[in-house]
Amino acid sequence: MGFKQAKVKLLQALSQGTFLHEARNAIEEKNLLSTGDVSVEDVIAIVNRCNGAHHTMSAHHQVPGVTVHVLKRDGWYIKFYFIDPDTYFISVHQSEP
């Protein structure tokens, strides 16, 4: 799945609420969407400003069959993957200066 399809799927998940936040037996505080420090609307606005140049992807470090997508835009860093029917956020935060 390339950028265009990932963007459509991500925006759909955000607007329909069909997403979860990855957890490793703890609430990941680098995921500002899970902590409520940024809103779904904020993330939708950032994703809408992204094009292919802001997107990279790689295999998940533990499950290589899962593709991890990263969007970097305006100082924001959004990392996520899809396991149908849901979308999973690994992190949503601002890059360190």
Binding site: A23, N25, A26, E29, L33, D37, V63, I83
Partner: protein, 200 residues
């Protein structure tokens, strides 16, 4: 907007099982990754194989936000690199197996100690400690504390009239004097217990 429900089945990556696993939504108490405290009874996805908490649905976010606001306050200071090296070295001397989290606990221990001095009307004298000469890269020390410790930090700042950064520098220098320099570090047994507990 989808509403996830207890008992609902799904799939997610489990870091413990290192694979995509079947999950069930259930209510659990979940700790924060970088701060003290936890959120009680939030809906989470639990691994059907190992019972780890592997994912959190968005409807748990308001409870997480509320718990974080009441449980923690951020402390951020930029320090010359040697101060963080001293803090790490002190943590290492106390317990070579200490986690990165322990340097924050060590600072908290000293903050609590100095705050206790202030409440018995003794103002800490660490302000006149020696400083490092030369130019060093600056590093950020960032952590979150409970409201109680936050108040203790402010009580030291008020009593010493120091900036937050200078107060932390002063405390690090006290840690150097107590733990890094002596042959036998001060408060060793107590701090070793704290290191074990904070890694638990």
């Amino acid at each position: 907007m989808k509403v996830y429900k207890q008992g609902e089945k799904g799939k997610a990556i489990c870091e413990t099982c290192k694979q995509v696993v079947a999950t069930t939504l259930a209510y659990r108490d979940v700790p924060f990754s970088d701060s003290p405290g936890e959120v009680k009874d939030i809906l989470v996805a639990v691994c059907d194989t190992c019972d780890s908490v592997v994912a959190i649905p968005p409807q748990s976010t308001p409870a997480i936000k509320k718990a974080r606001e009441t449980a923690t306050k951020p402390i951020e200071v930029n320090l010359p690199a040697p101060y963080l090296e001293i803090l790490d070295l002190a943590a290492y001397r106390i317990d070579p197996k200490a986690t990165g989290e322990f340097r924050k606990r060590l600072l908290a221990y000293y903050i609590h100690m100095y705050s206790g001095l202030i409440s018995s009307a003794k103002i800490p004298t660490f302000i006149s400690s020696t400083t490092f000469v030369g130019k060093f890269p600056s590093k950020r020390l960032s952590f979150k504390v409970t409201p109680r410790l936050y108040d203790e930090i402010n009580s030291i700042i008020d009593a010493t009239h120091l900036s937050k950064t200078d107060m932390i520098k002063g405390i690090v220098q006290e840690i150097e004097k107590d733990i890094v320099r002596p042959e036998k570090p001060k408060h060793l047994a107590e701090l070793q217990r704290l290191a074990v507990v904070s890694a638990a």
